[in-house]
Symmetry: C2
């Protein structure tokens, strides 16, 4: 079987659809599949899965479970090495900002999973399946892991998912609680700091809040955002920068 | 450095304490450490850690974060392969019953981590550190991963932690919700089923509840446990067996 795979003889058995999937996987993963059936399963959403035994569907959900775990381990090591002086609370928080439904879904769409996912969402609201590409991305990680082993999969996750699609520095800067940094500073320096709402603009659905940060009753910085909290963070971040506070 | 390690020249630099730790790790992990400093860090509880920079302590908490992730991936794959026909809900639930503070803490104690953990719990209640061995076990997994790579670490986790210390069949049987099985059966068969508390014995801290399961007002089975819920499960499990209900 191994020599069969090595000589790529299995590719002779591919039908047209298989060839298309194998080509897409090659682009996404960086290497041709050894065991294509894993990738077929990874791209099969439960809505398109047939029952193989009473009550058991061959969908990508089991691979998603596996891929989620492998992705978690790869990202954990990446952050562990990248931030040797940050504590486990920071590492946990930063990882959860990378590995979450929303961001994985976006990456899944960006790398083109919508072209290869098999699903049958007819009659179902889009929103009941809005994480379909994120789920499929996790399943793909599970398939790559089983197909090529941990080290290959780690390289795939880092070079094709994490590094090109996540700006970790930016993620961190939004993780840092700037507001509490500023309050800490004000207490140490014995200064009066105040956050006040300057304006709310935009429509009912897309509001923009503007917050002024005052130090000793004088406007020092301003911040804008879709929520009051985010605008406060932004104002506080600007103040931290202006005050040269280490982050 | 590699050849230095290969010839085990680094062991010449071990002091007495290092030698003792290396010997303990060899027994636990199945192989001598290559980079002992990883294991020194893994066995350093935060209560015994010195500050290396302002606010930064060199304790095992970062390795615990990494080890938790690697352990999660290894157990995920193990269950994925062991149960090819079970869905991801079952896999997730079963994994969380294996990888949890309580069970890891017990295993940590069993493999002898209490002999090598460095901690300073003086003046602190035992209960504030009751997961110390489970946390250290996770940190040890993180250290083995960094020291020897994923495949070695996976073998370590499976052969030294999971297979000898977890009875997965038993874990699954307690995962099954026997009470709902019985209630389902009673509705189908149109029988009256009742759970009633027969007695509570034991001290304030260690109670034992006894629950009777009655079918058509007659005692059919009994169950005991440290909580009412567990005693009910036990009584229901016994009834499922007596009724030959498929689980």
């Amino acid at each position: 079987m191994k020599i069969f795979r090595k000589l790529r003889l299995h590719e002779l058995l591919y039908n047209k659809k298989d060839k298309r999937l194998a080509a897409a996987i090659k682009i996404m993963v960086g290497s041709k599949p050894l065991n294509l059936s894993l990738y077929k399963l990874a791209t099969k959403h439960s809505s398109a899965a047939e029952e193989i035994k009473h009550g058991i569907k061959a969908s990508n959900e089991r691979l998603e479970f596996l891929g989620d775990a492998v992705l978690g381990a790869v990202v954990a090591e990446h952050l562990f090495i990248k931030f040797p002086y940050r504590d486990e609370g920071f590492l946990t928080e930063t990882r959860s900002r990378i590995v979450n439904r929303e961001s994985l879904n976006q990456v899944g769409q960006k790398i083109g999973l919508s072209n290869i996912v098999e699903s049958d969402l007819s009659g179902k609201g889009f929103y009941s399946h809005k994480s379909i590409y994120g789920d499929t991305l996790e399943a793909l990680v599970g398939a790559v892991y089983l197909d090529r082993g941990y080290d290959f999969c780690k390289k795939f996750v880092l070079t094709k998912i994490i590094i090109p699609h996540f700006d970790i520095e930016n993620i961190i800067s939004t993780t840092t609680n700037f507001k509490s940094k500023i309050i800490e500073w004000s207490q140490k320096e014995n200064k009066e700091v105040e956050f006040s709402l300057k304006s709310v603009t935009g429509s009912q659905r897309f509001k923009e809040f503007t917050i002024e940060l005052k130090i000793e009753q004088e406007v020092y910085t301003e911040g804008k955002g879709p929520t009051k909290k985010k605008a406060e963070q932004e104002a506080a971040k600007n103040a931290c920068e202006k005050l040269n506070l280490a982050l």
